[in-house]
């Protein structure tokens, strides 16, 4: 009866593997030399554990089958042996040393970030990533893709299976060249986050007030995905990481596009905008930056995140509204967006918030107003 049950147990474990062979059950070997070394270590220690398990559980099961009262087995009376104790202390120590040596060697290699060809500054926010290439003067935010965002709303009615790379797709991925040692400098703007791409075998926390570094040298072009792995609040599960690794030439042309786009964006701050354009742009900015907390209809989450619909800030004086968006609210999840968004984007989102969700104040805010508010705040 018991062996039948344990047999059933084993089948239950294995059944999913048999039914559908592409169910992923193991770590990825990844696409860097380091990740493959880590994978090798993982498999080694796994097989060491399996081997020890076979010996220990084998002895246990043999004993359970044979040394039982119902088979008339009489109990022996031995209860100590210093020799045996020494043997099963020394053997594990030897096994552990043999595991510790390659692990230590790998670790020392992983922690040596010297001699990198490209440095990217990564700043984590609740709940997005900011990437900056300081030497190339290119920077952008990386948010959860809008399709995943819509599908992940509670009872959205959208089947996640219909969304490509559900919860693993971003609007602007980090782009890196292959074959070069890329170093990331990680920090955070608010709470602790953690940056992880399983295919690179790098994971490091982004901590406010600290700069951590990691590095990787990707061997094959491709798109590699990961997620934030340190609980960082409400949308911890919704700030994926996407890295696109390109051949050197493709990387260079991507970089030039980015630099051109940055110049165009600077121009937008100089213009005077029509209300309709502000509203359209504001809706976009809101959907990327505000919706996670303040929700799609501006209703907020009572007791956690305040509503914008009918709020005193969004319907009252203009100055405090611009101020809270520029400078955030200390001690809450409300960030200082002044450092994250352009004047035009802030003008657009303020206009949007003051005229959407039934707030119909009729106010129109121009990029110049934001620039003035920034000036006044200094």
């Amino acid at each position: 009866m018991k062996s039948l049950l344990s047999g059933g147990l084993l089948t239950l474990w294995l059944l999913p593997l048999l039914a559908q062979a592409d169910w992923e059950v193991n770590m990825t070997p990844g696409v860097t030399d380091i990740s493959q070394e880590v994978y090798g270590l993982h498999m080694t220690v796994l097989w060491v554990c399996v081997a020890i398990g076979v010996v220990v559980f084998g002895a246990m099961i043999y004993s359970i089958i044979n040394h039982r009262q119902s088979k008339g087995h009489e109990a022996a009376s031995f209860h100590e042996s210093t020799t045996v104790e020494i043997i099963w202390t020394v053997i594990p120590v030897i096994i552990l040393i043999s595991l510790a040596i390659p692990a230590a060697q790998a670790l020392v290699k992983m922690e040596d970030s010297s001699g990198s060809a490209l440095t990217v500054q990564v700043t984590a926010y609740q709940w997005k990533w900011h990437y900056e290439y300081p030497e190339q003067e290119v920077e952008f935010f990386s948010n959860l893709d809008s399709k995943s965002r819509e599908a992940s709303a509670r009872n959205s009615g959208i089947d996640p299976n219909e969304v490509d790379n559900y919860l693993l797709e971003v609007d602007n991925p980090l782009v890196i060249p292959i074959g070069k040692k890329v170093r990331l400098l990680l920090t955070s703007n608010d709470v602790i986050h953690s940056w992880w791409i399983p295919d690179f075998a790098v994971k490091k926390d982004a901590i406010p007030g600290f700069v951590n570094d990691i590095w990787f040298k990707v061997n094959e072009p491709g798109t590699y995905r990961g997620q934030c792995v340190e609980l960082c609040g409400k949308d911890h599960g919704f700030m994926p990481i996407e890295v696109v690794a390109l051949e050197e030439a493709a990387f260079q042309s991507w970089m030039q596009e980015q630099q051109a786009a940055a110049a165009a964006k600077a121009k937008a701050d100089e213009q005077t905008w029509e209300m309709a354009d502000l509203m359209a742009q504001g809706e976009k900015v809101y959907g990327t930056n505000c919706v996670a907390c303040h929700q799609a209809k501006g209703q907020g989450i009572p007791g956690v995140f305040p509503a914008i619909a009918g709020s005193p800030i969004a319907t009252g004086d203009l100055a405090p509204h611009i101020d809270i968006i520029l400078n955030g609210q200390a001690g809450t999840a409300m960030q200082a967006f002044g450092s994250q968004l352009s004047d035009a984007d802030i003008a657009a989102v303020v206009t949007y918030q003051r005229n959407a969700f039934g707030n119909e104040t009729g106010d129109v805010v121009q990029p110049a107003d934001i620039a003035a508010a920034r000036q006044a705040g200094q």
């Binding site: 359970i64 104790e85 595991l99 299976n161 007030g209 609980l231 001690g331 809450t332």
Partner: protein
């Protein structure tokens, strides 16, 4: 263990019987009453914490958000952990200590009976404070039970309630630990030398020191959070010159010994049960004691393996990796000794033995994944994924919780005087053992495949194993209703249990009647 009472106390002397009515339980200073209170309290909390786990597993049954919002999901993961650790598993072990330690060492009661009453009665207040956060503005704490700043500082009205609940729980634990140490050091019957104490007493003795050493550290850490939030200090705020990582160092200096607080008494329980049903003395008694002490010592120098990804100097990482790997040695010795105890025994497989054997196998599986996690380079891949969730649930559920259940089946006939229904008990074991594996084994797979922990929704490639895991969770949860039924029905009525209960059992508890007199060992037993 040769401990045998050569003369029995006069069991008919009931001059100081229990009070009548509800007041008996409020004012009691009797270790058996207090032990009973602890155990029922912990059973209740086990179901509350379990219900929270089922909310989590129900949401994770399929991708997409169906049942709860991410904010509430995070509240559930946080509260599930706090309730299970501080309100279910720890009180269960203290309850067992209260019941068994005086009886096992031949003492009439705990050394500090009034403080004993207080240690228990703090718990209902602390748990009410903690659980009522679910109903305040902003909801319960949602920063994980580890309470890392700065995230924890974003907690709403629940924040001070969380801190004060932890203070209260800490006070309760420290008093319980002081009491256990005072009892063991001062109240042993003549002849009960340290190296004759049952292993359950030994493991609790060591656990009590861990509690005294670490609970004040936790209290200090959370107090610093409190002043950071309300009194303008910057212990953990980099903008004010503080260090958010320092919290993690302090927390895990508490947290890792805490892990062993949750498992060492389980080692003790299993070391009592396996010899009984193998009808053979425990193999390597003294090495078991030394192994327990070694594990306790090592627990103080491995804390940073919980935080390998915060960015430490490589020398520190190497130290903590080596120290962590060392724990496998004394832990291995314990497992080998249990197997050697079974070897050439004359085994029977009543419910307590089944749970104890389930413990040895599944705790060892959790130990294997622990060894894997110890290797820093690979830990970078495992850290904060479901692999870690699978690891610590293997050591805590079929580990600590199975040991508590084994103890409940093993000693319930002694406590209540009634024998439980053996068929039902075995059925409960098999249901639990099968479902706990369906629940937690697939979590290794999704973790290795890259699913982070503490997320309310996941990418579709993790869907199938999550569904299996959720089915296991509901099966496991429902099976525990059977446990509650068996416990309650046995206490109320049942076949009369003999004083010896188990034919292979040794130790002073079996020299007492079943149930034992309200005041046992009014006359000291003498130990051979």
């Amino acid at each position: 263990m040769n401990a045998q009472a050569v003369e029995h106390a006069d069991h008919d002397d009931h001059a100081h019987g229990p009070e009548k009515g509800l007041l008996r339980w409020v004012t009691t200073t009797n270790h058996k009453d207090i032990g009973t209170l602890y155990l029922w309290f912990s059973l209740l909390m086990f179901f509350i914490g379990g219900a929270m786990a089922l909310v989590i597993r129900a949401e994770l049954f399929q991708p997409g958000l169906q049942l709860v919002d991410p904010v509430f999901f995070n509240q559930m993961t946080t509260m599930h952990a706090l309730v299970m650790i501080f309100l279910a598993v720890m009180p269960a072990f203290v309850g067992l200590a209260n019941w068994m330690i005086p009886i096992m060492i031949g003492a009439p009661d705990m050394a500090l009976p009034r403080m004993n009453n207080w240690s228990f009665w703090i718990l209902p207040f602390a748990s009410t404070l903690l659980l009522s956060t679910l109903f305040v503005e902003g909801g319960a704490p949602a920063s994980g039970w580890t309470m890392y700043p700065p995230l924890v500082l974003q907690t709403g009205a629940a924040f001070p309630m969380l801190i004060f609940a932890i203070h209260l729980l800490g006070i309760s634990s420290i008093m319980g630990a002081i009491n256990i140490i005072a009892t063991i050091m001062n109240m042993r019957a003549p002849g009960m030398t340290y190296m004759k104490m049952p292993l359950f007493v030994w493991t609790w003795f060591i656990t009590a020191y861990l509690l005294i050493a670490t609970m004040p550290v936790l209290a200090g850490a959370v107090t610093m959070l409190l002043t950071d939030k309300y009194f303008g200090t910057s212990f953990f705020d980099a903008a004010g010159g503080g260090d958010p990582v320092m919290f993690q160092h302090i927390f895990w200096f508490f947290g890792h010994p805490e892990v062993y607080i949750l498992i060492l008494p389980a080692f003790g329980i299993v070391s009592q049960i396996i010899p009984t049903f193998a009808r053979k003395p425990l193999f390597g008694y003294s090495s078991m004691v030394y192994a327990t002490a070694s594990i306790a010592f090592l627990s103080f120098i491995v804390w940073a393996h919980h935080m390998f990804t915060v960015g430490m100097p490589v020398e520190f990482e190497l130290f903590f990796m080596f120290a962590t790997m060392l724990i496998a040695v004394p832990t291995g010795v314990k497992v080998f000794n249990w197997v050697a105890t079974m070897w050439k025994g004359s085994m029977t497989f009543e419910t307590p033995m089944l749970f104890a054997l389930g413990f040895v196998i599944m705790f060892t599986i959790g130990g294997f994944s622990g060894l894997m996690l110890a290797l820093t380079p690979v830990d970078f891949q495992y850290h904060d994924t479901y692999f870690v969730v699978a690891h610590f649930h293997y050591v805590l559920v079929p580990g600590a919780v199975f040991a508590i259940m084994a103890a409940a089946y093993y000693w319930l006939p002694k406590w209540s005087g009634h024998m439980y229904n053996e068929k039902l008990g075995r059925f409960h074991f098999w249901m639990s053992a099968i479902f706990v594996n369906i629940l937690f084994f697939p979590q290794h797979f999704v973790g290795l495949a890259g699913m982070p922990r503490r997320i309310p929704d996941y990418s579709t490639q993790f869907a199938d194993f999550n569904m299996i895991s959720s089915i296991g969770a509901f099966g496991f949860g429902l099976s525990q209703l059977l446990f509650a039924y068996i416990m309650i029905s046995t206490v109320l009525k049942g076949k009369k249990a003999s004083d010896q209960v188990w034919d292979g059992a040794e130790g002073l508890e079996w020299t007492l009647s079943s149930p034992p007199p309200y005041h046992s060992f009014a006359v000291q037993p003498t130990i051979k």
